[in-house]
């Protein structure tokens, strides 16, 4: 199982902060295009991805227990 976190406008579109999925061994790209397709997250391509709080690439493989976060363009400060 993995946890997927959403923030800012992505969180509002999904309607929740966290989604848990029974999946492992897939890439970030798989997660976006297959497992999250149902949410129709138009802006997900402009988001960066973090796995366990570190930025990760599209082809990174997600292991069981990982926390994946979608990070829309940030605007702190």
């Amino acid at each position: 199982m993995i946890d997927v976190l959403f923030f800012a406008e992505l969180q509002e579109t999904v309607g929740q902060e966290k989604v848990s999925l029974q999946v492992e061994g897939i890439t970030v790209k798989d997660l976006k295009t297959k497992w999250l397709a149902e949410y129709e997250l138009d802006n997900i391509e402009s988001a960066m991805v973090a796995i366990n709080e570190e930025y990760a690439e599209e082809d990174a493989v997600i292991a069981s227990g990982d926390v994946v976060a979608f990070i829309p363009p940030v605007s702190g400060g």
């Binding site: 976190l5 923030f7 800012a8 406008e9 969180q11 509002e12 802006n43 402009s46 973090a50 709080e53 930025y55 976060a69 990070i71 829309p72 363009p73 940030v74 605007s75 702190g76 400060g77």
Partner: protein
């Protein structure tokens, strides 16, 4: 407060951040304070809402502190960023950098705020009279993107 880099939903006391970096080796402390501005390009902000991926944001703030230590040698950095609802003139972020000499403190503090806007997972939602928007989406950050200096410019600022 144990940490030198923290996210909080409470008002930030400037002194709490500054006192983290006071030390005998320092002759200069530069502090950058980001406050909620009422008007941006003629549009009136009622209030802002900040959201953070807090655990990761604190790690990234700490990373910025490490980058500063590598670039400016004897520098000590502390940063606090607030989340939740912020009204006009409320403090969103406080950065403090102490260095032996003043020039470094200015440069390092400037570097810190630019890096926050690049890598720290914090988001701002504008609440205007006629609507709301998470800043950072592709439409509304055009001006922000234009204003953001290239990495070289930041470092040589």
């Amino acid at each position: 407060m144990e940490k030198d880099f923290w996210i909080t939903d409470q008002p930030i006391e400037i002194n709490d951040v500054v006192e983290k970096v006071v030390r005998p080796e320092a002759g200069a402390i530069n502090t950058f304070i980001g406050t909620v501005r009422e008007f941006t390009k003629g549009k009136r902000t009622l209030y802002l809402e900040y959201q953070a991926y807090a655990a990761m944001a604190e790690k990234k703030l700490e990373e910025i502190g490490q980058e500063i230590s590598e670039k400016w040698g004897d520098a000590k950095t502390a940063i606090a960023h607030r989340t939740g609802r912020l009204d006009i003139s409320d403090i969103a972020v406080v950065i403090a950098v102490s260095t032996p000499h003043r020039k470094d403190s200015f440069e390092a503090s400037r570097y810190a705020i630019e890096r926050i806007k690049e890598i720290v997972p914090i988001w701002k939602k504008e609440h205007w009279e006629d609507g709301t928007l998470w800043i950072g989406d592709q439409k509304e950050t055009k001006s922000y993107e234009e204003n953001r200096p290239a990495k070289e410019e930041i470092i040589n600022d």
